[in-house]
């Protein structure tokens, strides 16, 4: 598989993708908030689509492409989303933000001018307990301008 564009050779196909990314590769951006796909803090892109990396085994990625939050900034969309999150004060404790940025980048890539419903559908898998989502929604709007 490739992670953020770099070919890698994972030793254990049965490992969870989140553990491989964090423990073997040192990419700590994906966070474990629940371990069962409910909170979305571990969201990464698999072949361009957001997935919870706690629910994916390394072997399931095959020779696919994984993009983590660390890799999201290599594209203009991801950079714009990250900058908007900072500017609009969408970061409070920040623990959900890496997953949120990955989901928001995928959303904006698919819908350059998302409707409210598209934004809700794109981000409803990412829980945030600090912001009430207002600043996050404003950041995504700003990133799509």
């Amino acid at each position: 598989m490739k992670v953020n564009g770099v070919p890698v050779d994972p030793p254990d196909a049965a490992a969870r993708l989140i553990d491989y990314l964090r423990d073997d590769l040192g990419l700590i951006g994906a966070k474990e908030g629940c371990g069962m796909g409910e909170c979305g803090s571990c969201t990464v892109l698999m072949n361009g689509s957001p997935v919870c990396s706690c629910l994916v085994l390394v072997g399931q990625v095959g020779d696919g492409e994984v993009t983590t939050v660390e890799g999201v900034a290599s594209g203009a969309t991801g950079r714009a989303v990250q900058e908007a999150f900072v500017r609009r004060q969408a970061v409070q404790c920040g623990f959900c933000v890496a997953g949120m940025v990955v989901s928001a980048s995928a959303l904006v890539a698919e819908h350059p001018a998302p409707t409210d419903e598209q934004m809700r559908a794109g981000l409803e898998g990412n829980l945030c307990r600090c912001t009430g989502y207002g600043a996050i929604a404003r950041a995504v709007r700003e990133a799509t301008r």
Binding site: A30, G33, Q89, C93, R129, T131, G134
Partner: protein, 746 residues
């Protein structure tokens, strides 16, 4: 969002009043920031906890033989291995590791450290705990029954607070109208997205613990006491951390980490799973609350009488202090000629309850504010008008204790700010436009919440400042940051007091090695207390500059350093009430009344599906009086976050147990609001300064969760005529009430 900035005297260069992102925001959005549970150290082991599977029982034996012999296991600890096996000074605080009795599901019994997390978990699961079951106390009312099983030798009452300012029964019988409400509010789980945990490292007889905390001083004392070491041998680095909301005030994790790392002779990493947090972590105290309020014909409150029973679970963390806040806020922001409160905190085998944003106020405010709303309907007076006839004005005397409140209180202004919003003004038209099966309603509610621990408690924060020869300023101050960007606010204040570029100022808040004891990130006190200490220490520096005749920092810094006057400290002690009113001055700290309160008024508009009981919230107006907003964007963020948690409490969140056995054990069945559940929120900042606060600021992050529940209930009543007596208002409960309404009075 509509944010109206308060009238401001700030100049073009001033930092106060600007919306400035958090200090680590760039590291966060790029995924580079290392949180305490991300930390990895060379040679690090991993820990796990063995927990009770039963709610109540006597421990007959703990067999660790198999676990200790497993390959890769480095140490196993039980209660007998803990030098002082209590989490506080008394038995009521509960053991670090239960060794005689277990009193709730999830109570910690043993700790394991092993070479990897999987081995540690398997070893912890291999520990055999022989428990003889005891009868379970599954409910606060049951705990008070004369023949109830006793959780502790002293009985099941953990604390009681009562106060009466006169003959309430007589005042109520003389009143024209008396409204009575009997309500209950649920246990709520914090769901900070980072589960508790971190790393501990021993070096030369001293331990450094990286672990989230919103009360680092308290955690140092817990660790030092349990391990039998000096306070100065414990260093706690409490961030970066992923959320708190009250959950990180009493968390035993720093004690577990220090014990394991010492016994294993290696650094140890330990992190709770979400299921462990759900079952073993603290909760908002569930309350049963009854209130009677008497009104005169003119709509003025004549008397109020409230009783409350709070379920604190098996041990005392914050329970009696939570109830103290409930007592003070049992009369809300109202003038009440005669008032009474009687509250009890009781032990049960349910989840241990602790601190949670609002700290006992949302529970009593739900009773009080829904009673006011019902009274407005019965008296035929507009609910805003009824409140305005009764609200405290700045400098008035408190409705229960009679102490004077700050002249900076702006309750009427805050309520008016909410009630002049279009969403309140146009409520009749909006209601008419409902399309079946949806019916529409709008509700309003009001609250205040004290800033700081209250009078008679010696509440203080401290700051330390060092200026270097090149004029750079370093400040160590607390309370610390758990998501509020409080360090950024401290820097804004320092920059304005010193008149220097904020880029020349560094602020550190999360390391007990350097930050002087400043108390908890709690009680809406961080901005008010910490900000005041920072302003004070900066003024010390200005005085020293004046002494050496330097007109500014760049010119005077070298001189101060060479004269050995480059280091400063300051303490800010929160002001007690000017007079204790009806409270015996000797017992001021027992009631801990506040002088300064933050205020919020909220409007909720929503739709109810008559066929299913489903509720769709269409919008919330959140007016908030925080004095001067130091960082308005951060204030709006706190308001929106508080409203979202309030909507969770009102509509979906309830940690449930049956006979002490948890039902809602994960985020699959304990649901918190997603982006889909939170409507547009209009935050309105009410202008004006708090005279005793730093740059005019005061606390606001708790009060914003308080009016949401009663405003939701008022909106439901407006939509379908059902007055809910129990939170959360789930579709099932609302539908049941709607059906009962159709059948008519039984």
């Amino acid at each position: 969002m509509t944010a109206t900035s308060p009238a401001s005297t700030t100049t073009e260069n001033s930092q106060v009043g600007r919306s400035i992102p958090g200090a680590y925001a760039h590291e966060v959005v790029s995924g580079r920031l290392e949180y305490v549970t991300d930390r990895r150290l060379p040679g690090m082991l991993h820990g796990a906890v063995t927990r009770s599977a039963v709610p109540h029982g006597r421990i007959a034996g703990i067999d660790t033989t198999v676990a200790a012999k497993m390959a890769g296991v480095r140490c196993v600890l039980v209660g007998a291995d803990v030098p002082f096996n209590l989490l506080g000074p008394t038995e009521a605080d509960g053991p670090v590791l239960a060794d005689e009795q277990v009193r709730q599901v999830g109570e910690a019994i043993a700790l394991v450290a092993a070479v990897d997390a999987g081995t540690a978990r398997r070893a912890a699961d291999a520990i055999v705990v022989d428990v003889e079951p005891l009868p379970v106390v599954g409910d606060a009312h049951a705990a008070l029954a004369p023949d109830a099983p006793r959780l502790h030798d002293g009985g099941n009452v953990a604390g009681r607070i009562g106060f009466a300012s006169g003959d309430v029964e007589r005042a109520l019988s003389d009143a024209d109208t008396v409204v009575e409400r009997v309500v209950s509010t649920p246990a709520q789980e914090h769901v900070a997205i980072e589960p508790p945990g971190g790393v501990a490292l021993w070096e030369a007889g001293q331990v450094t613990i990286w672990c989230g905390s919103q009360n680092p001083g308290l955690h140092r004392r817990k660790v030092a006491r349990a391990l039998g070491i000096g306070l100065e041998d414990v260093r706690l680095v409490s961030g970066p951390v992923g959320g708190a909301f009250g959950a990180r005030n009493d968390d035993p994790m720093p004690v577990f980490l220090a014990l394991l790392a010492r016994a294993a002779g290696a650094p140890v990493h330990l992190r709770m799973s979400r299921e462990e947090v759900m079952v073993a972590g603290p909760k908002r105290h569930p309350f049963h609350t009854s209130v009677r309020i008497g009104f005169g014909r003119d709509g003025r409150i004549a008397a109020s009488d409230m009783t409350a029973i709070a379920d604190t679970g098996p041990y005392v963390t914050s329970g009696p202090n939570v109830l103290k806040t409930s007592a003070e806020m049992s009369v809300g922001p109202y003038r009440v000629p005669v008032a009474r409160f009687d509250g009890q905190v009781v032990y049960t085998n349910n989840a241990n309850a602790g601190a949670f944003r609002g700290y006992g106020v949302p529970q009593v405010a739900f009773a009080l504010e829904t009673a006011i709303d019902q009274a407005a309907a019965e008296l035929g007076i507009d609910p805003v008008d009824l409140r305005l006839r009764n609200v405290l004005r700045g400098g008035d005397r408190h409705g229960l204790y009679g102490h004077p409140v700050t002249p900076g209180l702006r309750v009427a202004e805050t309520l008016t700010a909410a009630a002049t919003d279009d969403w309140w003004v146009t409520r009749a038209e909006w209601r008419r436009r409902a399309r079946p099966p949806w019916r529409r309603g709008t509700g309003i509610a009001l609250a205040i919440k004290g800033v700081g621990l209250g009078s008679g408690r010696g509440d203080a924060a401290r700051a330390r400042l060092i200026v270097s020869v090149d004029g750079r300023v370093r400040i160590w101050a607390g309370p610390n940051h758990t998501g509020q960007a409080i360090d950024v606010a401290y820097r804004q204040i320092a920059a304005d007091v010193l008149g220097v570029d904020p880029g020349r100022i560094d602020v550190v808040v999360d390391d007990t090695q350097l930050v002087p004891e400043s108390g908890a990130t709690a009680a809406s006190r961080s901005m008010y207390a910490g900000g005041s200490a920072v302003a004070a220490v900066c003024r010390r520096l200005l005085e020293a500059l004046e002494d050496v005749g330097a007109s500014d920092l760049a010119l005077g810094a070298g001189r101060l350093v060479s004269e050995g006057r480059a280091e400063f400290e300051a303490t800010f002690t929160l002001p007690d009430v000017a007079d204790p009113g009806m409270i015996d001055p000797e017992r001021l700290g027992n009631y801990a009344p506040h002088r300064v309160y933050g205020c919020s008024a909220q409007v909720v508009r929503l739709e109810v599906n008559e066929l299913t009981g489903e509720i769709r919230v269409a919008g919330v107006v959140c007016a908030v009086d925080c004095g001067r907003a130091i960082n308005p964007g951060a204030v709006v963020g706190q308001a929106e976050g508080g409203v979202a948690q309030g909507l969770g409490l009102a509509l979906m969140e309830e940690y449930r147990l049956v006979d002490g056995r948890p039902v809602t054990q994960s985020l699959e069945n304990y649901l918190i609001p997603t982006i889909r559940d939170v409507p547009p929120i209009r935050t309105r900042l009410v202008g004006g300064d708090e005279p005793t606060g730093p740059m005019g600021a005061k606390g606001m992050a708790e009060v914003v969760i308080v009016p949401t529940g009663p405003a939701v209930a008022a909106a439901v009543a407006d939509a379908v005529g059902v007055r809910s007596d129990r939170l959360p208002i789930t579709p099932e409960r609302l539908l049941t009430a709607l059906r009962a309404q159709e059948r008519g009075p039984q």
